[in-house]
Symmetry: C2
Subunit: 240 residues, 2 copies
């Protein structure tokens, strides 16, 4: 059986304006590879309801899982929960279980659970909460759409809460061989090897170091024995 | 007149597997903001022809410009030029002008222009070459699709070659105010201000430092005077 598939949707003007370099997609990509969930696509869209709704609907239909990052805080630009509710055609109201979590958290901090903070308790009916051990306000899984915060340490904590309850597949394994020749010098035998080992993927990543060309070859797949076999053959190519 | 719009398509299994953290989208996002081209979407897809063709066609129709990164080297996994040719319904053959560039480059290096390297001279008819001052092999602009390398320093050099010939708009300006209170404490007056300054965008980015909550408010727009006015009002909110 093949692995489940996934997409990540990063929501935020701060990424598209060049102010912030996204870290969440990279973190989750590594976690998904280890879990055996095949990440097929990443998208970044702005804080715009129509753009989020269109992306959520396209990606949740195409892949087994959609993970979103960003836009679930208390301010006016936090519109992800609203957009996900629109995408599913569901109403969005304050849910008592989420309100209780926030009420306990702010009581402990001696802070008022005001109207803005209460926005973070708006969760679609039927959604399962995702635990946030850092700042309490939960994410949620609505069917196959997993809605998480954008602040990197909160995102990572939510990913750690969520992933154990998803069914994975065969982890994506990889080995890398560094070859001290440019891509153009090894392209032909590498292509032949990739064709012979059709169950593996061969990535070729050129670099320049101290003015000399080199290439990192990354062999990916789910069968460690086959990867070992391919690496042995690669070593012969590298020595030629 | 409104600014031109754009999308970036990053092509590469190494990003989706979590091995490599993309740097090119972040670099180009900053350049586009300064140029007055509004970046609306970023996508990352794998080294898969069908996935690239679908993304190229969706994005080149929706936005004024599409910039791609990755997959134009000499190895078997470099299929971006092929996919762009398929997307446009054009044949893809070696073009003499591109071959000449490669022939001169490899002659200078005393290296053979072999069959694999010659793949990098396959450019669709009608496309305009994008200069590559680092490793010679050119990118190309086919209509509104700008195809560039994935290696970050080559990508950046190609962006520098390309952007001066594109028509920009009003640069996206921004100012940031750091407020030593959590988002929830300022959400209401911030939302009111955002509504009053409807021509600007107000981003709210929470952080925690030494256990204390804070928020960076980023005000973005094209009119410096309006941004100044909004920042003055924000300072009052911060002081309350």
């Amino acid at each position: 059986m093949s692995n489940p598939t996934a997409a990540i949707l990063v929501i935020g003007d701060e990424i598209l304006s060049g102010r912030t370099r996204d870290a969440n997609a990279h973190h989750l990509a590594g976690e998904l590879a280890a879990k055996g969930i095949d990440l097929k696509e990443v998208r970044v869209v702005s804080d715009d309801t129509a753009a989020i709704v269109a992306a959520v609907n396209a990606l949740r239909e195409r892949y087994d899982h959609l993970f979103t990052s960003g836009g679930i805080g208390p301010t006016h630009d936090d519109i992800t929960a609203d957009a996900v509710a629109v995408a599913f055609g569901l109403p969005l109201g304050v849910r008592e279980d989420a309100r209780d979590i926030l009420a306990r958290h702010y009581a402990r901090m001696g802070t008022d659970l005001n109207e803005a903070r209460l926005r973070m308790a708006r969760i679609p009916e039927g959604a399962v909460l995702i635990d946030n051990p850092i700042s309490a306000a939960p994410g949620f899984s609505m069917a196959n759409v997993h809605v998480m915060a954008g602040v990197p340490n909160i995102f990572q904590a939510m990913v750690a809460s969520l992933l154990p309850r998803l069914t994975g597949g065969e982890p994506l394994l990889s080995q890398t061989l560094r070859i001290e020749r440019g891509e153009g010098a090894i392209a032909k035998p590498l292509a032949d090897l990739a064709q012979e080992f059709g169950d593996l993927s061969f990535g070729s990543y050129p670099f320049v170091q101290n003015g000399a060309y080199g290439t990192n070859i990354v062999v990916r797949g789910t069968d460690a024995t086959r990867i070992d076999a391919a690496m042995a053959r690669l070593a012969v190519i590298a020595a030629q």
